[in-house]
């Protein structure tokens, strides 16, 4: 009775002939009960057709009264096509989503590396909604390793309906210990020395002297000479010592910067038009709910995510609404004053960004108007650090031959 059973009622006077036929035909039935004018019984669905045929052969007309078991469920389902359609859609969705990427998890805390990995994967077609069997994960691993310098090793594995990207970030090898290594202090600007704070090293320039870019101001190579007079004459003994030049050389220098602003400028102008995009988000997959893709330039004004929460746990299924506002890029012709103002703004931004370590002692701006735009030449008189450290190499003959010293204490097995 896998498919359920049916209750039958047969009306008539005498059922002896029919009962005899049941026995002869070896019919399987249950709950047979005879009343004065009817016979009720329960027949499994599998035997119901042979039963009905048998009854008709004997001159009785069986009537179906009630359905039991799965048959009843099937009949109730047939009356509700929505459930069937829903079940079919669910099965199709399960089959589809079990083979597409819904989530991409990247094992990194660095948002820059995460962004690069996602960009490379997207460029190779590995994104939410991609068909998993078509993706060769080994090729993707190689692609990640070759295209992203920060990734030393990458492994991609399937996790249910998504992929997990495990990476080992490339750690930049230390360049060695530079503390204590000999170096010069070399001028990085053309200027005049006004202040010297020297801790170690040999000063090559005095206070108030001018230096040009690249000139050694403090040397890490200290040469001392001793002069002795003997009967043979003067004997000069020189000793060279290499130190790390430590100190601060401050001075004044001039820096000239040119800021140009053409009269023809492009400007972003908001048109006032607003659009709204809606998405259904399932894990990492973003399914658009809008049918039209608007033409034009838009920028995001607001993005709202509506994800239901159960007990503090945010479900991975929700809606996202993005409010867009339209803008247009229009060419604009600036007059001289406005162009000059923009060039001044650019100069101000430069000062704020690049000249904060220095003290601006003087500033002179010279605007020049051409046919195409304005050219603002700003000359800064700056006070600040004039020098930077510059490592240098010690000649090899000065370095003690450590290898030879080591070999003396090691027994050479070839001599035995």
């Amino acid at each position: 009775m896998t498919l359920g059973s049916i209750d039958y009622r047969i009306e008539g006077k005498s059922f002896a002939k029919l009962l005899d036929a049941f026995t002869k035909e070896k019919l399987i039935y249950s709950e047979l009960r005879e009343t004065d004018d009817s016979l009720t019984m329960n027949i499994s669905f599998e035997h119901s057709f042979s039963f009905e045929r048998l009854c008709r052969n004997e001159g009785f007309e069986p009537k179906r009264i009630e359905y039991h078991g799965m048959l009843r469920f099937y009949r109730s389902i047939v009356k509700r096509p929505g459930i069937i359609v829903g079940a079919v859609i669910s099965v199709l969705l399960m089959a589809y989503y079990s083979n597409v990427i819904l989530t991409i998890k990247v094992d990194t805390d660095d948002p820059i590396i995460y962004g690069k990995i996602i960009d490379v994967l997207n460029a190779d077609g590995v994104k939410a909604g991609a068909y998993l069997p078509d993706i060769d994960l080994v090729i993707e691993e190689r692609s990640l390793k070759s295209k992203i310098d920060e990734v030393a090793w990458a492994g991609i594995s399937r996790t249910g309906s998504g992929i997990a990207v495990d990476i080992l970030e490339a750690v930049e090898a230390e360049k060695g210990i530079t503390v204590g290594m000999p170096c010069h202090l070399v001028a990085c600007e053309d200027g005049v020395i006004e202040e010297i704070e020297l801790i170690d090293g040999q000063l090559m320039k005095c206070l108030g002297s001018g230096v040009t870019k690249g000139e050694i101001v403090v040397s890490g190579k200290i040469v001392t000479e001793d002069s002795e007079w003997t009967k043979d004459g003067e004997v000069v003994t020189s000793k060279t010592r290499y130190v790390r030049s430590i100190g601060k050389i401050r001075g004044t220098f001039i820096r000239t910067m040119v800021f140009e602003q053409p009269f023809d400028a492009e400007e972003k102008v908001l048109t006032g038009e607003k659009r709204k995009l809606s998405y259904l988000e399932i894990f990492s997959a973003r399914i658009p709910l809008h049918t039209k893709i608007y033409d034009g330039y838009f920028e995001t004004e607001k993005e709202e995510k509506h994800f239901p929460e159960i007990g503090g746990f945010v479900l991975p299924i929700g809606f996202t609404e993005i409010d867009l506002r339209e803008y247009d890029i229009r060419s604009q012709v600036l007059d001289k004053e406005e162009a000059l103002s923009r060039a001044e703004q650019a100069a101000y931004r430069y000062e704020q960004n690049f000249l904060t370590p220095y003290k601006i002692r003087g500033r002179s701006a010279k605007p020049e108007f051409t046919d195409d735009g304005v050219r603002l030449t700003v000359t800064y008189e700056l006070y600040g650090n004039l020098c930077k450290e510059s490592d240098f190499f010690i000649p090899k003959y000065i370095v003690p031959d450590l290898e030879a010293v080591t070999k003396e204490n090691v027994q050479d097995s070839e001599n035995y």
């Binding site: 026995t23 070896k26 249950s30």
Partner: protein, 92 residues
């Protein structure tokens, strides 16, 4: 007086070929009758069955009949009385 089947030749043959009527009664709630040849009657108070040697009458209330296998019927309900009538005696 009827002959005792157990000591007759045909009786022994029937026993060896399992052609006898096997009746198993569970309390007063059900009775399983094997080698049932015909169903005469099945009302709520009386079920009459025909087997090889006997006509079996089961009396009670709320009786109903089920047949799950060949030549076997199961009577369910409240059985109050079981009556076995030998077919030989019935003919006499």
């Amino acid at each position: 007086m009827a002959r005792i089947p157990g000591i007759s030749f045909f009786g022994k043959t029937r026993e060896l070929m399992y052609l006898q009527s096997y009746i198993r009664i569970n309390d007063n709630t059900s009775a399983l009758v094997e080698n049932c040849r015909q169903i005469y009657e099945c009302t709520e108070v009386c079920v009459r069955l025909l087997t090889g040697s006997f006509e079996i009458e089961l009396w009670g209330s709320g009786l109903m009949l089920s047949s799950y296998a060949e030549n076997s019927v199961e009577v369910r309900g409240t059985i109050e009385q079981v009556k076995l009538v030998s077919r030989v005696n019935r003919r006499n």
